[in-house]
Symmetry: D2
Subunit: 371 residues, 4 copies
Amino acid sequence: MDELGIGLIGTGFMGRAHALAFHNASAVFELPLKLRLVALADADTHRAESCARAWGFEQAYGDWQQLIDDPRVGLVAITTPNHLHFPMAMAALAAGKAVYCEKPLAVDLDQATRMRDAARQAGVITRVGYNYQHNPTIDLARELIRSGELGEIVGFQGEFSEDFMADPASPWSWRCEAQHAGGALADLGSHLLAMARHLIGDITAVCADTRTVHPQRPASAGSRETRPIAVDDQVHALLRFANGARGTFSSSWLKHGYKNHLSFEISGTRGTLAFDQERLNELRLCRVGQSGFQRLLAGPDQPRYAAFSPAAGHQLGYNELKTLEVQALIEALAGQGQTGTDFEEAWQVERLATAIRQAAREQRWVDVSEF
Amino acid sequence: MDELGIGLIGTGFMGRAHALAFHNASAVFELPLKLRLVALADADTHRAESCARAWGFEQAYGDWQQLIDDPRVGLVAITTPNHLHFPMAMAALAAGKAVYCEKPLAVDLDQATRMRDAARQAGVITRVGYNYQHNPTIDLARELIRSGELGEIVGFQGEFSEDFMADPASPWSWRCEAQHAGGALADLGSHLLAMARHLIGDITAVCADTRTVHPQRPASAGSRETRPIAVDDQVHALLRFANGARGTFSSSWLKHGYKNHLSFEISGTRGTLAFDQERLNELRLCRVGQSGFQRLLAGPDQPRYAAFSPAAGHQLGYNELKTLEVQALIEALAGQGQTGTDFEEAWQVERLATAIRQAAREQRWVDVSEF
Amino acid sequence: MDELGIGLIGTGFMGRAHALAFHNASAVFELPLKLRLVALADADTHRAESCARAWGFEQAYGDWQQLIDDPRVGLVAITTPNHLHFPMAMAALAAGKAVYCEKPLAVDLDQATRMRDAARQAGVITRVGYNYQHNPTIDLARELIRSGELGEIVGFQGEFSEDFMADPASPWSWRCEAQHAGGALADLGSHLLAMARHLIGDITAVCADTRTVHPQRPASAGSRETRPIAVDDQVHALLRFANGARGTFSSSWLKHGYKNHLSFEISGTRGTLAFDQERLNELRLCRVGQSGFQRLLAGPDQPRYAAFSPAAGHQLGYNELKTLEVQALIEALAGQGQTGTDFEEAWQVERLATAIRQAAREQRWVDVSEF
Amino acid sequence: MDELGIGLIGTGFMGRAHALAFHNASAVFELPLKLRLVALADADTHRAESCARAWGFEQAYGDWQQLIDDPRVGLVAITTPNHLHFPMAMAALAAGKAVYCEKPLAVDLDQATRMRDAARQAGVITRVGYNYQHNPTIDLARELIRSGELGEIVGFQGEFSEDFMADPASPWSWRCEAQHAGGALADLGSHLLAMARHLIGDITAVCADTRTVHPQRPASAGSRETRPIAVDDQVHALLRFANGARGTFSSSWLKHGYKNHLSFEISGTRGTLAFDQERLNELRLCRVGQSGFQRLLAGPDQPRYAAFSPAAGHQLGYNELKTLEVQALIEALAGQGQTGTDFEEAWQVERLATAIRQAAREQRWVDVSEF
């Protein structure tokens, strides 16, 4: 079996999530490639070393360029803050390495376009971490849609809201800066846009309205000094899909009561399905002729669930979606599958977010092909 | 105690609902006026007579003008199809009678405007049957908003969907004709617009998208002949409220799984509340500092619930909302209250629906004050 | 059409509920008898008179025996405190009148037996107000069971809990006295026992455990004087049904979070259904081959729902269950139906409650036929 | 840091679950011991070898005694069918090794008693895989109870039902044999008994009723030959807790609609909490003074959740409960904690199940101390 050398950049929460996912993907699945945890990079060399030891990487680097240059590394995984995605991915692509980058792809559409073009030119496998799509429950939703069981898809109501910025005393962070892809739309909404495309397909036109509810926030936790905030606290939009479906889109990071409310209802001429990430193992489905919604629990009928548990109702967790993302990536690298969001598709999501911002700014419908 | 003579026009489902409501309002509440069921009108004289007997009206009329002219009648209740609201209400207002008209007020904004103007001129009490607003659960929602317990209101997600036209074989009816105030927006959506105004206040601008999913329907049940359909099967919109809140609005009459899904989430800087008419006795509420939603069951803390049951959890039904609407009307007639939707407010709802249609037709934001 | 003279005893919450139900049953249904509200009795003559006027009764009595003796009265409705059911029902039966008595039938099994025997001898129609059984949702549940759609019924989990005595400062009342049929078992549990019999049939043996959690309560609201409490605050039991099904039974009046939680799950070899009175218009159903529960909303497929609303999802309220109980009673009086709980069946419920108390007292299984 | 050598017996679903858990516990937590995956045993040597490679064990054994004898092994993990727990655990204890055994502890109380005694004598750390207790949501439930926030605990309603034997064509397996600890009580109910003890404490007396609904099942899948079944398909019981609480207990493996319905409601004088394993990241809570249940999502306030995710609502899965079980075990081995079910406590669960079987057989209340 061929071996794939993994180089991971970043040791934060997402860095550890990647490390766990590489481990678990090998243990849970019979992968077509043998994974070798070659190197871990962090600007803090000491931290790089202790994490490398704890997570089973052979080597630590303080300089990420060295990791990319390491000839044993075949796949570069990027889990750093958003503004570093661009230089790291561009360097990895220049070196002809496969790239696995956390979302969002970039901090603006220009960067994203250059990354997409570089990936095209390099001809390597790329993936972006829209991990919610790798949920077996979502596989089931997609099957129901693709098979025509819901009939023609006509409606979409989507919302991704959380409450982590609800408190006006929640301080400024890089997430509050437009030039770092900040705001509820970039941070949360992009997941929902990717999901809408994953399930229903191209979106051709958008109209939108955004608002910064708290235009000043403390410069840091507890500080009396404030910083002005320019990014959206909430965004509402209308979506027109290429297949004729229409829908609404909402995202907020200051909605009390929600912790991870990536939710949608998709309605067709023969049925409706509903999902909420806060109950990620469930789907609600009403087929034509039924009088009400039925609860479907993810189970071993979905092969990607079966790998984890032989019985329905035992539930996967958030971290296992990451393991599934890695599995899909490794299969793609072995030429055995195409599941997952590549730079081409991630660019589409960035374009859509850009169109939504434009529509909000100019208070008009925007044709997505303008970008 | 003064007596109020009731004249009721129409003997369909809503006619009977009114008759029951007049009975029950007297039995449940200590009303300030004694209600006398004077006359019932239906074009079918025979039906008028048998219903008058069954429902306890003193007299039956085949001609509604005679009912209006009857000097014993002080309040004219109109429950006929939409296109008759205008002539009946205008005649009643001309006769100086109070008017209680089913929703929607009229079949177009021009009619609605004339009705509003006539009501202003007549100086009588008018009411329009937006009965969902008379739910004690909605009273509670409104209190929570008015008292500031949710903080500044910033977001609204509203949807009113049903499935009764989901089957493409569901035949044409007057509800499918624009000139009879047809379509999902008029039939269902208007309730949600009225509710949004009831809870949050004026809406200043809208953008919208409508679609006729099934542009042909059987001319009648089972017929092979079809008729073209021009009204909306579904509508999606963005709303801007005068107080700065923003939101989404959806309505469909072909969404599988829903029977009476007038639902909304209203979020503020200090909390979120959610409601679904399919569980009309419940509110979900999350206050700042709480980690999740709490279920509130309507109970006797709400005076209008207490009139029906001394204990929470015993639940009111749809018909009792009508009884509460009548109670509010009678109190208004006795000069003791202002609760309920008068022609002035119902005109606002018609104006809003008109703006939404315009926004959809012209694919642009529409300032509601254009109308 | 024949006329039936109604005599109603009691003007409390249940008295008014009866009065409303007689009104509404006539308006909602085409009853086989014309109802005439002849007389209303209350020991407080003044109150009897004012309620008679408000509720439309022709005459008021201060002495209930006079009401029973009134030759115009054909049906005597009893809504007084429990200990008066016995003398009033016995007098009415002695006079050959039909009897409609609130639940529980009597304060002990001896009384109940004498009432049942008197009813047998009188040969009149009797009914006891187990109104929850008249819910169209329960009709649907019963159909699903009777038709065999759930297969052989094997399991029952039932609970009726509320919280109205949860506060140890909730004072003593007659409900706390065994000789007035007090305690959670009598007050709440009897409804659930009646429901279990209604849906699954005879119960042959029981084992039980009761507990008085707060053995002292204030003598009255706010009083520092206390009274000892002997009745059960909560009861748990095992049930064996004649058809082989087994199950658990719980009732408590001090369980926080519940207001009217008469709930059950009934499982068979081909499906499971679940119900909760706090959402009285819904049933959850899982049929063999389905992977999860489906929500069924009561709708016009159920004839007794259709009488109130032509569309599902519009919901009936608690008071309408009373209207349906009256309808069933009037049909029985006209020889057109047998729906409802007569004294024979209500005696079965009393016997069962007696067996449960005995089982708890002696800490052993009790064969219900011991009583 | 000291090193702990792990020897794992069994390569089935639970074997892999253990292997993953050892990996993940090291990556997710800063464990006080360094785990070394020394050896994996399976009677099928070939399988032992391939799994050892895939899961990262240094050596494979075909003979489990050799694994126990391997001096590098300090902890023996047992994941074989139930009847092998006894010989393996006894051998490991005899060798002075720590033991981590899957549930149930043994196939009868006699075995369990000998295992407990051997563990006492060996003086080593033992653990049994009641993994549901390691859920951070359950930690939260326990805190709420222990802190007195629910007041005095008075009621327990517990049920653990699934549907995997609902089909009468589901064939015989060792789970259908009493001598292998078969039946719904042993397979499912034991988890709920362990949970009841974990949360509320000792149970002193039980009464119970069991039933074999399908007394014949196919000898194997699709076979026309049948085998008689003697174990319980469902069990219902009453429980009396040492602290005065009372409750009901149900378990079934043929209840349609449920996949992993380990559920309970625990009510106290100051609140009620409810849990369902099918939504393992949620708790429903109603505190005194609140009118309804609130949904609590597990989040980083619980330290054992925080180790996996910095944000609430991201959810743990079934497999992560196993990781948490391993973490607790390793801490106990390092002398840093006592969390988890040792042989002493697992024996209590077996004793309780034995008392329930006796109570059902003899149809009487059984004092648990009889055993």
